[in-house]
């Protein structure tokens, strides 16, 4: 069905339902407005009624995860200094890469240059009962190694940042397709009544190049805009235009919203436009967000022990703060939470660069897993840690590594993921995924599967074709599931 018709129909049914409930006396808007100043109150009639139930209803399978926290390591982390130890590469340091491996393969900035092996710049250690091999710069992550599943055989189509992010997020290198967070909220709706269902947070770090990230990475593409990711910002309004105009008090803002909704409601009795009740609900939601978002963003009420666990201070805008916010968003029912941490693009100085990154994310990742586990939420939350690609086993300029798409590593944890295992492998130089290769569509299919969705059946029609997040590919990686 055409998406817009789907929506129209949705609205129609709402108005029918409204007629059932009896709209004449109080009316939906008035009912809700009475509750407006009590955030978290139980009845926001219009908002609730407007709440998108998701197209996958009922679910295709019993779900293992209710939500996703996706940690995007933007810039392309080196798998060779994080999760994929290659002693052979160390042994061949400085020697030419075997041409048999590299011939005819995509190459980014090393085009036309001599390709030489560049050994791992940091040592690895075995962690946990599972003996997971992780770079020694990540001892905190290592301390929860038995909670995570490392996949060392991911590969992707794209080799430049922008298309590679697009491919990771949408399953396509063509702009204009919905991102995975949009797909998931379209498919499943969200449990939150006063926050968007798909939320994005970004943070910067040291070293690497500050690669741009386009808003298209969390766009809804051809899905309706309500499924787009909402970027919660560290500075300024956390949500764009969230703050009441200067000089206008909260109660005055409420007066304005109430008057708008009352007039709209009144107008509706004349024109019978199902869009109006939707608009009333959106004004309520907007007004609620004016209270709920600042409350969400305020980490100062978190106990010191929690701040210490994550290693962050309220308002520092760090990746660690964002991890803590991710937990808070998860608690509030947000369906898809995506964090971007930038500056993993180590064309030069990968040794020092990874040290910076480790300092920024190691404790925070551990803390997120630990915190969720303590709250009993880890088993219902799928965490994914991934870059848009990996980095070459070859040196760039003697100290760095170029973009690399033939094999790299990610880790997953929580909801339905088998903990304490590793899956897949690259060849002995870390170039090509050779054992159990996993492509991006497989990762998407697996995520959807854990959320209770058959990726073949989450489909929309656009430009005459049925589209899926997994395009025409994707298979669930069953060996990593519980």
């Amino acid at each position: 069905m055409n998406l817009h018709e789907e929506f129209f129909q949705f609205r129609q049914q709402q108005s029918t339902r409204r007629a059932f409930l009896g709209r004449t006396s109080a009316g939906v808007g008035a009912m809700a407005l009475a509750q407006l100043m009590q955030p978290q109150a139980s009845a926001f009639a219009a908002s609730k009624q407007e709440k998108w139930p998701g197209v996958i209803n009922p679910l295709h399978y019993p779900r293992k995860a209710k939500r996703v926290i996706y940690l995007t390591m933007a810039g392309g982390p080196s798998h060779l200094e994080t999760l994929d130890y290659k002693p052979k590469l160390a042994a061949m340091h400085g020697e030419p890469m075997p041409e048999s491996m590299t011939k005819g393969k995509q190459i980014a900035q090393l085009q036309g240059q001599a390709l030489k092996c560049f050994g791992p710049q940091h040592a690895f250690k075995r962690f946990g009962k599972s003996g997971a091999e992780i770079c020694e710069l990540f001892p905190q992550l290592g301390s929860v190694a038995d909670e995570i599943c490392i996949v060392r055989s991911l590969h992707t189509e794209a080799i430049n940042h922008d298309p590679a992010h697009m491919f990771m997020n949408t399953g396509s290198q063509i702009a204009g397709r919905p991102s995975m967070g949009s797909w998931v909220t379209y498919g499943l709706g969200s449990d939150s009544t006063d926050l968007p269902g798909f939320v994005v947070l970004t943070s910067k770090g040291k070293g690497g190049q500050n690669q741009p990230i386009a808003a298209r990475q969390w766009a809804a593409g051809y899905l309706p805009s309500r499924f787009q990711g909402v970027h919660l910002r560290g500075k300024g309004d956390p949500v764009l235009y969230l703050t009441t105009p200067p000089g206008v008090s909260a109660s005055q803002q409420e007066d304005v919203v109430r008057a708008v909704n009352n007039l709209n409601k009144h107008h509706d009795t004349h024109v019978e436009d199902p869009e109006i009740s939707a608009r009333i609900a959106q004004y309520e939601m907007a007004f609620l967000m004016q209270a709920s978002v600042p409350e969400l963003m305020d980490l100062s009420k978190e106990p010191q022990s929690v701040l210490d666990l994550y290693g962050c201070a309220p308002g520092d805008g760090s990746f660690a703060s964002n991890c803590l916010l991710a937990r808070r968003l998860a608690e509030r029912g947000v369906r898809f939470i995506q964090l971007y941490h930038k500056d993993w693009d180590h064309h030069g100085g990968v040794k020092e660069g990874i040290e910076f990154k480790a300092a920024e994310i190691d404790r925070a990742c551990m803390a997120l897993i630990t915190d969720l586990k303590q709250r009993g939420m880890l088993e219902e939350t799928l965490i994914v840690w991934a870059g848009e690609f990996g980095r070459t086993p070859m040196s760039q300029g003697g100290s760095g590594r170029d973009h690399h798409n033939h094999g790299f590593s990610v880790w997953l944890a929580g909801g339905g993921i088998k903990p304490g295992i590793s899956y897949g492998a690259t060849d002995e130089l870390g170039y090509q995924a050779v054992e159990n290769p996993v492509d991006v569509h497989d990762l998407h299919a697996t995520m959807l599967h854990l959320l209770g969705v058959n990726h073949l059946k989450l489909v929309t029609r656009f430009q005459g074709r049925d589209f899926r997040l997994t395009d025409v590919h994707g298979k669930v990686i069953r060996p990593i599931l519980v």
């Binding site: 018709e5 036309g112 240059q113 922008d162 808003a215 899905l223 309500r226 009352n262 024109v271 869009e275």
Partner: protein
């Protein structure tokens, strides 16, 4: 929730008429059967050979009824004998069609339809949109649009709605034709004028407004994906806004759509093409591009090709050509070969594939063009003056010739011994006593690129020139002078500095220039745009010299630095060199330039033996070097420079420029740009449509455009009028605007769509004629409120027994607010503008990092369509109201209803400022009492008076806020200070603040942002 969810996703077809009992009516293949087969069967039993299963096609009747291995999929007239029937009803999961694993399932009704169709003989029809449209007869005297709509309405048992009130009509027309609200005076006048033809006159008047073109441009700019930035990665700006103004102008001038098409696809190829037509061809440059380091040209060459093919498919053909990039189209007869042959039309466009876009063509206004011409004239006069001969000049030339006969006088060059030479990591410089510098690198690791910085002290006296001696060396295996495998070097750029000050180099010449890598490229950014720098490939192994003439002589023993940038890659670096300086008079040229061989040959001949060409050569060369002409030469150079600078300051636009060095276009197997095994293809149009009558030459973009608007093309006119219909009725007659293929929707009103398409062509592609036809119909003028019974019968208004209502487009939400506030600038055209935007919104852009600076003055208050279109971070107010990012062609915007829209209208300073300005207008012009003012405000915003409940609600708000602001007057200051427009000083601030609250309510109303 459970109450309605199960209802939510019933089959979409229920809204279509004439479903019901399959057995009781005539089945039409295109309407009833093709959509079922296309959705469920064609994927494996259709056009695409590679994914075909069981060697069975169902998209071709001959194949469907053919007996294969004793099985006939379709036995016309006998569904029980048909394999198709058996398989769709099969209970066996191995046998049933479509296979369950495909996730598709036929409904009982669809199965019954298929049976009935077979029973009726399984007739096929050619796909509707590939059959040329024909006009059905309409009764004379009746409006043809209404006649056709009513014919259908009577069949489905509906009747047209009455005409809407006059104030609604004028509001609707203003919105659809201008995108602006009418003033209360205009509404009043129109309400009063009941004379015959008053409505039609209003339509004509609005179409004659300069704002008509702005309104019509919005959907066009969406579908061609017009934006101010390149899209990928750094998403940097590019020059394209003159194209946007071209679109506006074309709609205003009612440019015929066939010409509009030709100009955009091939304006540069039109005979005697005008500046405007060249600007139009900027259409081909609206693709996404990248400046990302490490991007591979072949990759992006392929992306740009596919981008262009998809665009033609969406904009003109309504065909999803993009689906054929990797494989033959699954549902439509579009082959992969079609895809790449269409792409080959654009192989002649000259452009860099990766990297910064060029400035483009200068687009002067009439006045600016006149100024340019005056400068050109002046240059012409000066050049004539230089050329002119006189007895005196002849005599001087003879003397000069004599001096040449004596041979070139040696210019004295003083070698300089560098004080210091620095390079990149690992570079080592050995400076000899004679000034020669030998370059080496640690561990012999020569980098791909490097930059040498040489510090020298100049000798005493006035130096007019420098010489860079690139020296051959025995230490270099190739003998040099360069370190690359070929012995070449490329001097990307040479810069001369005294301290931080850059010394200008007037001229560069060389002992030898590699083809395409001239000396000038090393000192001239513009020349280097296409070239890498000065190179000597072809004559390496020997010493080569670069001569630099200084613009201003360098006096006395100064310490200067030379920066030799060598960044062409591939180790094209100098291996041995020396710097020398000279006091010789200007011009400082390489001897072979100053005394070119042909000049010397000519001089040596007796005067009477010289050919005319040789005489001219000598006269010209004499004038280019003799000191006596220096003032004239300088003036010419200065005027040329001034002209160049002036031209640079003019608006520019990326345009299509043809090159004979066309890119090779191959069919890319599975769309893989790294696979070069595919066949090389030439331009050709879709194979299954009527072909252009061109023979014996390669087809070009103009042929493509001609083909698109040929009378025999069944698609273009339908596609355009369908989009136009959507503009005025909210939904296309075929609702899928960008897919007229099997997966789209056969138009419900096929007679009407075809009638309009033919009329469009008959009228000579007259857009205003079509707009007039649509807007003067009764169908357009109906009320938009939905009677309850109709809502059930026709929920999506497909039958057009009423008008539709929808939330206004993003740009118009803004325009309306600024207009009623009295803030809107009505200026047409010009560079894109930057309205207020939240700080830090661009923080994730980089290369370079950017800070958004909003415009001041009038530019702050321009119409929404002039907003700076940053593809990766579109202005958040626009985005909230569903303006597309224009990364892809978009024929239809979604119309969402999200909380961000409320936040924008409530809190975006644009709307807060507009509310305050509206409040000031109300207080100044709206009368004396609250009631008068309230009525006036309502009239301005909604073109109606408020009813008692509305008044009461608003008065209550006004009173409350008035009291609150009076109690706390200091709160008004920050509120009234929002925005650039100065707050009025003649109005009490508490009163203004209270009315601002009220105005905010009005600007936020659903009715305000709704076109009804």
């Amino acid at each position: 929730m459970g109450l309605f969810v199960p209802l939510l996703f019933v089959e979409c077809s229920f809204a279509e008429p004439a479903k019901g009992d399959a057995a009781s009516r005539e089945i039409r293949f295109n309407r009833d059967i093709r959509p079922i087969l296309s959705d469920n069967c064609f994927h494996c039993h259709g056009f695409d050979q590679k994914s075909r299963k069981g060697d069975r096609r169902l998209d071709v009747r001959d194949d469907a009824i053919a007996e294969k291995d004793g099985v006939r999929a379709v036995v016309p007239g006998d569904f029980r004998a048909s394999e198709l029937h058996r398989r769709i009803y099969s209970q066996d999961s191995e046998e049933v069609m479509p296979p369950p694993k495909e996730g598709k399932r036929l409904t009982a009704e669809q199965k019954a339809l298929l049976d009935e169709w077979i029973k009726q003989g399984a007739p096929y029809e050619e796909h509707w949109s590939y059959v040329p449209p024909v006009k059905v007869a309409t009764p004379s005297g009746a409006h043809p649009v209404d006649a056709l709509i009513r014919r259908r309405l009577s069949q489905v048992g509906l009747s047209p709605a009455p005409e809407a009130e006059r104030r609604v009509l004028i509001r609707r027309l203003y919105s659809d034709l201008l995108g602006l609200p009418p003033s209360p005076e205009e509404v009043l006048a129109f309400e009063k004028d009941k004379s015959p033809g008053s409505y039609e006159r209003l339509v004509d008047r609005l179409m004659a407004s300069p704002h008509y073109g702005e309104r019509m441009a919005i959907p066009w700019l969406d579908v061609v994906r017009f934006a101010d930035t390149i899209g990928y990665h750094s998403d940097n700006p590019r020059n394209v806004w003159p194209y946007r103004d071209y679109v506006i102008r074309s709609f205003n001038e009612n440019k015929r759509f066939d010409q509009f098409t030709r100009e955009q696809l091939a304006g540069d190829l039109l005979p005697g093409s005008t500046l405007e037509q060249k600007v139009a061809s900027g259409f081909n440059r609206l693709v996404l591009s990248t400046e990302e380091g490490g991007a591979q040209p072949k990759d992006y060459e392929s992306r740009m090709l596919t981008d262009r093919v998809r665009a033609v498919g969406t904009v003109w053909l309504g065909q999803t050509l993009g689906c054929a990039q990797c494989h033959d189209h699954k549902f439509d007869p579009i082959s992969t070969r079609d895809f790449y042959t269409m792409g080959a039309f654009f192989a002649d466009i000259r452009e860099g594939v990766i990297g910064k876009r060029e400035e483009g063509l200068a687009v002067p206004s009439v006045e600016e063009a006149a100024k340019l011409k005056a400068m050109d004239d002046r240059i012409g006069i000066l050049q004539e003056e230089l050329k002119a001969s006189s007895p005196q000049r002849a005599q001087d030339q003879a003397q000069w010739e004599q001096s040449l006969m004596n041979g070139p006088t040696d210019v004295a060059w003083t070698p300089l011994v560098p004080l210091k030479v620095q390079g990149g990591k690992g570079s080592q410089f050995e400076i000899q006593d004679d000034g020669v510098v030998n370059v080496s690198f640690a561990e012999g690791k020569v980098p791909a690129s490097d930059t040498y910085t040489i510090t020298v002290k100049m000798p005493a006296g006035e130096m007019n020139g420098l010489r860079l001696e690139a020296l051959a060396s025995e230490r270099i295996p190739t003998k040099g002078p360069g370190l690359s495998d070929s012995g070449n070097f490329i001097l990307t750029q040479v810069t001369l500095k005294e301290g931080a000050e850059v010394l200008k180099i007037a001229e560069a010449s060389a002992s030898f220039e590699q083809k395409g890598q001239p000396a000038r490229a090393a000192i001239d950014d513009k020349a280097r745009g296409v070239q890498k720098g000065w190179g000597v490939l072809g004559k390496s192994g020997v010493d080569q010299f670069l001569y630099l003439e200084l613009a201003t002589p360098l006096a006395g023993e100064k310490t200067i630095t030379l920066v030799l940038k060598q960044t062409a890659g591939e180790r094209q670096l100098l291996g041995k060199f020396r710097i020398a300086a000279t006091q010789a008079p200007t011009p400082i040229r390489s001897p072979n330039v100053q005394f070119p061989a042909d000049v010397l040959t000519a001089v040596k001949l007796a005067r009477e033996k010289r050919s005319a060409a040789q005489q001219a050569l000598l006269a010209k060369h004499f004038r280019s070097v003799a000191a006596q002409f220096a003032p004239l030469r300088n003036e010419i150079a200065a005027t040329q420079k001034a002209r160049e600078d002036y031209e640079k300051s003019l608006p520019h636009c990326l345009v299509s420029v043809h090159t004979d060095q066309m890119r090779t276009v191959r069919i890319l197997p599975r769309g893989d740009w790294q696979n070069e095994s595919g066949e090389v293809v030439q331009p050709a149009v879709l194979h299954f449509l009527p072909q252009p009558a061109v023979e014996g030459r390669r087809l070009n973009r103009l042929d493509l455009a001609d083909w698109l608007v040929a009378r025999s093309n069944p698609l273009t006119a339908r596609v355009f009028v369908n989009r136009l219909w959507k503009h005025f009725f909210g939904m296309g007659l075929s609702k899928v605007l960008d897919d007229f293929g099997a997966q789209g929707e056969p138009p419900l009103h096929s007679d009407l769509l075809d009638w309009l398409a033919v009329e469009f062509m008959d009228s000579g592609w007259d857009v205003k004629h079509m707009v007039r036809l649509m807007t003067t119909s009764h169908a357009y003028r109906q009320v938009s409120a939905v009677p309850k019974d109709q809502l059930a019968k026709d929920p999506y208004n497909r039958e057009l027994a009423r008008q539709s209502r929808w939330r206004a487009d993003a740009e118009l939400v803004r325009d309306n607010a600024l207009s009623v506030a009295g803030l809107l600038s009505l200026k047409v055209g010009g560079p894109s503008v930057k309205p207020y935007q939240p700080e830090g919104y661009w923080e994730n852009l980089n290369f370079p990092a950017r800070v958004y600076v909003n415009d001041q003055g009038e530019s702050q208050y321009r119409r929404g369509l002039y907003t700076w279109w940053q593809r990766s971070y579109l202005h958040p107010s626009m985005l909230a109201f569903d303006a597309p990012t224009r990364e892809e062609c978009s024929a239809e915007r979604s119309r969402s209803n999200i909380p961000q829209q409320a936040l924008v209208l409530l809190n975006d300073p644009t709307y807060v400022e507009a509310a305050r300005s509206l409040a000031a207008r109300v207080l100044r012009q709206g009368g004396r009492t609250d009631e008068d003012r309230l009525n006036w405000a309502f009239q301005v915003v909604l073109q109606r008076t408020p009813n008692p409940q509305e008044s009461a609600e608003l008065r209550a708000l006004l009173l409350k806020h008035r009291g609150e602001f009076q109690a706390k007057p200091e709160a008004t200051q920050p509120l009234l200070a929002v925005g650039l427009a100065p707050a009025p000083t003649d109005i009490t601030s508490t009163e203004l603040a209270a009315w601002t609250s009220l105005a905010r309510v009005l600007l936020n109303l659903h009715e305000t942002v709704t076109r009804s």
